[in-house]
Amino acid sequence: MELLPEGQTNKTEVSWEDQQRINEFSKLINRKDQFEVELAELSHEKDYLDDLSLEIELLDDDEKVNYKLGDTFVLLRHSSVVTRLENDNLVLANKMTALENSIEVTQERMNELKNQLYAKFGQSINLDR
């Protein structure tokens, strides 16, 4: 939100309802940024997991795998590592879907608010980056 440029006047009165819409919008835009950061982190993690799932196939079935649990590497059987990876992948995929949905819902509400605010204030308000 910025002050109006010098010399430009704003004839439209801001009502409490408008203010609440502006506030909600500024809240949502921050929330969406946050979601996107989280999503980027998760998709990074997903890349790692995908790579790992491929690599693990190449390992000998009888060999034990150093699997990091907490701060320690635990020697696990190949099969249980595969199960764990599948599980991790599932949890991650669910988290990502949930985040994507949240982003979509937030964006929809933002568009709604944008339409209402632009309809009232036109050039006097700027809601885009």
Binding site: L4, E13, F73
Partner: protein
């Protein structure tokens, strides 16, 4: 004196910013001087600074709480695995490569079948012995508390964001109102 005060606050007692409905309710256009307007703008600025200061503090608190979560999660995962492994009918000891010191790993075997207790670091130089189930319970509770604190801090930050926006719009409107007023005063 404090005409920007409201009675409302959020559940954590952060005051709600006053929305200036009509600038005329605070300043009388026919009698107010430039100093009066400056005074009001200054008060708006002070409020805005206070909110921004609170926002900064909240953000620090939020990051502090957020950083606790991975640690608790890691420990919880490990204890859960130990329990899982104990319940399996597997006589083989659990082999690990553990961090003996930074960048230095060493091998250790854990006799999981006869492992009943783990030691949790409680902070303040205290470590306590807990049966596996109790350790899981304690860590789960701690995780929930940390997550709750994060949710609350995020809520507060969003609330502060809204109050900051209100004050920014207030400031802009008083400023614009003043420009119009000064134009009206200028000799025709």
């Amino acid at each position: 004196m404090d005409r920007l005060k409201t009675e409302q606050s959020n559940p954590r007692g952060i005051p709600q910013a006053k929305f200036i409905d009509r600038v005329e309710s605070l300043l009388n256009p026919s009698t107010c001087t430039n100093e009066d307007v400056d005074q009001l703008l200054k008060e708006c600025q002070t409020r805005l600074q206070q909110y921004k200061f609170m926002e900064e503090n909240k953000r620090l608190a939020l990051n502090g709480n957020k950083s606790k979560i991975p640690n608790i999660t890691k420990t919880l995962e490990m204890v859960q695995y130990l329990k899982e492994r104990k319940e399996e009918d597997d006589d083989e000891p659990l082999q690990t490569n553990y961090e003996l010191n930074e960048t230095l790993y060493s091998k250790a075997e854990i006799d999981v079948q006869n492992l009943d207790n783990v030691y949790l670091w409680l902070g303040a130089d205290v470590m306590m012995e807990y049966p596996l189930d109790e350790a899981i319970e304690l860590l789960t509770t701690r995780l929930a508390v940390a997550k709750e604190a994060v949710t609350v801090a995020e809520e507060d930050l969003e609330f502060l964001r809204e109050q900051i926006t209100t004050m920014e719009v207030n400031t802009a409107r008083v400023y614009n109102w003043d420009i119009t007023r000064r134009k009206g005063l200028a000799p025709k």
